[in-house]
């Protein structure tokens, strides 16, 4: 047990380091628009450089422009890249989820058309699954695709998707549509790829409760797509989307933002009970210990995951606990910090309370993190069912035609 590279890994790391030192030397200055859009030119330029160097998607096969590398090589690259001030990466949803899905099912011409531009950051993809009527229950999608009546074989898509990350700057998307409402819900879905600039596609930012707008609603009004844009077989979209979703849980990262160190620093300077520093308050010290232990637990769980990758094994189920722990901690830590400020804690103004802004951000953003990429409840179901082997919930909608399903509102 140690934290060292194998000789092969060390050699690869040296190669990566050398490449990054030449290519990532120039510091990137963020536009600081908060949503990743304003730094797009820099992001695209960096992605193109990585693609030219063969580091854009290391695990992809060489025919797609990857290295046919191992997951641990990708981890090594990510570790080394993180030491450089590189721009944000708005390509991960496309490269991690959408493009592999399309490439898995598409013909050679389609692959040739899309893989390269996506790899080089020239085209950005988004994933259009969640709907107002179904977040956790993705298979309840109502957005419909019907055959055009002109005999062209084209499909006409209408409906609405929601919580689409990056739709505002995406060029293409993959969308799950209802093609057979007579069939039970899992058996009447079909996936398509589409041009986000096509007529009838409208993207509107969602105004989050936290004030920002990192996600979008996407409206489809009679959007015409060709049958060749179908991904996988007709009415087989659920199975196709599982290929995409398998990657999502790992792609939605843990909480970032203020952690136990930031809390400790703040608690040193804020007056607590009896006029001493809040850091001397016993109740806060106990919480601080709990957060440290959780954070360490997650860190070393990631180390176990990386170890499995390094040994060429599939990581164990322990990697599934990350978001559930970190999102809850973000909420608890942020709120405890705000309460530590006592009456002053209500002030959410970076000018008046510059040292505490991160805690207010945690309070207001953590509710979203507990929902995104699998709610706490869905993740617990996943742990219970896939890790522990407990039975799935009783499904009242399993054998019912989609059109006959009770929907509420």
């Amino acid at each position: 047990m140690d934290f060292n590279d194998t000789p092969e890994e060390a050699a690869y790391r040296a190669q990566v380091k050398a490449w990054l030192e030449v290519n990532a030397a120039k510091p990137f200055v963020a536009d600081n628009d908060g949503e990743g859009g304003g730094s797009m030119a820099a992001s695209k330029a960096w992605q193109a450089k990585k693609a030219a160097g063969g580091f854009a998607q290391i695990t992809w096969p060489k025919e797609w422009g990857g290295q046919g590398g191992t997951p641990i090589q990708q981890v090594i690259f990510n570790q080394e890249e993180a030491k450089h001030p590189v721009p944000p990466n708005p390509f991960q949803i496309g490269l991690g989820m959408c493009v592999p899905t399309v490439a898995t099912f598409a013909d050679q011409a389609t692959k040739d058309r899309f893989v390269g531009p996506a790899l080089r950051g020239e085209e950005i993809w988004c994933q259009l699954f969640s709907e107002p009527s179904g977040g956790s229950d993705v298979a309840a999608a109502r957005t419909k695709a019907v055959r055009a009546t002109d005999g062209s074989g084209d499909w006409i898509i209408s409906g609405q998707k929601v919580w689409t990350t990056g739709a505002q700057f995406s060029d293409f998307g993959i969308v799950v549509c209802r093609t057979n409402p007579e069939a039970p819900k899992h058996k009447g879905l079909t996936m398509f790829w589409l041009d986000m600039h096509a007529p009838g596609v409208e993207v509107k930012p969602i105004h989050q409760m936290s004030g920002g707008s990192g996600f979008n609603e996407v409206f489809f009004t009679d959007v015409r797509v060709k049958d060749s844009q179908r991904v996988g077989a007709l009415d087989d979209g659920w199975k196709v989307s599982l290929v995409t979703l398998m990657n999502e849980r790992l792609a939605v990262g843990g909480a970032s933002g203020a952690g136990w160190q930031e809390f400790m620093e703040a608690a040193r300077s804020v007056p607590g009970l009896d006029g001493q520093a809040a850091l001397k308050d016993a109740s806060l010290r106990e919480k601080l210990a709990d957060w440290y232990v959780q954070a360490e637990g997650l860190k070393h769980t990631r180390n176990r995951t990386m170890t499995a990758l390094s040994r060429g094994q599939t990581p164990g189920p322990e990697s599934s606990i990350g978001k559930i722990v970190s999102a809850l901690q973000m909420q608890d830590l942020g709120n405890t910090a705000v309460e530590m400020l006592d009456q002053f804690g209500i002030i959410d103004d970076p000018d008046l309370a510059p040292l505490h802004a991160a805690f207010h951000t945690s309070v207001m953003f953590s509710p979203g993190l507990r929902i995104a990429g699998g709610t706490d409840e869905i993740l617990k179901n996943i742990i219970a069912e896939r890790v522990l082997g407990m039975p799935g919930d009783i499904r009242v909608d399993k054998d019912v035609a989609f059109k006959d399903m009770p929907t509420g509102r």
Partner: protein, 390 residues
Amino acid sequence: MLTREETYEAGKTGRIGHAMNFDFSDEQKFLKTEARKFLDANCGSDKVRKVLDDEANSHDEALWKGVAAQGWLGAAIPEAFGGLGLGHLELCIIAEELGRAVAPIPFASTVYILAEAVMLAGDDKQKAEILPKIAAGQLIGALATSEGPGVLSAATLKATVSGGKLFGMKIPVTDGDIADLCIVMAKENGQPGLFLVHLNGDGVSRAAVKTLDPTRDAAKLTFDGAPAERLGAAGEGFALLDQILDRAAILMSFEQCGGADKCLEMAKAYALERYAFGRVIASYQAIKHKLADMYVKNELARSNAYYGAWALNTDAPEIPSAASAARIAASEAFWFASKENIQTHGGIGFTWEMDCHLYYRRSRQLSLVIGAPRVWKERLVSHLERRNAA
């Protein structure tokens, strides 16, 4: 695939730039399989219950001889002192299996505490005298610090050593009724220190005390001029005790992980066979989410314990924070898993006949024996304060 943020977080260990070999080796995993086989054959719950149900039965002597014959008592003791000379990683593996089996033997007192303390702070003579006997199963150890309710400190410590003789009272002392050699905290010239005391010698009287976990006996020890030999330098007292407890905490956290995982398995097995309202209770989300919560806590505990194992095995400067984190996480995980295992079983879980309470009891024993979690939380935060201020 891990995101950039995740790998960056992982890199904040200060060990960024390494791909990781953060797991046990195949050989160590083989030892685990063998240890489990041995304990399945020699430490079934019938054996645990013999100690539980019979007040006169302090521990399972046959099992104690068995683990000695397996070489487990000297797993981490150097060959020069009669041990196997394996590392602490192997000892961690054995600890996990002992915890899983709620083994009713004085392993922790003897191996995690006495042997570790002597290896850490003993002089050559003490090492030569004590370690071979431990490895051979000829010597049982104990640690005596507590003198009554609440947290022991230099201000409350009453036991004294004067002219090489120990006077005072200690309660409770786990395995104090059967131990041969005990580490005792006492003041000498007003300074807290640690002393080795032979419990079979003069000036020692022992009385068994009833505890929450009768599978791990404890005693009240009264010292009236018992010969006491210093362990470590004069006045090291609490600083040395902390070092000893850090090492014990890491090893014990593996026992706690083993017990917690067993509780999750028991709860799951029962939930899958118990029917209520026409279906197995494992199909209800209230039960599924409860077991998912157990799983999350157990994994956090295991990851912290692994880091502790690494720190212990390499004698890293991170031992204090790693030990506190391992103990806090493992105490929480075992407590939660043992109580919610009973809850999952329902009424039958509250009966003496079901094994659930063996784990519930052991979780209390392990959480209290070297200091309650809140004490360790304070130790951890004090340590972090000093570390981050430096």
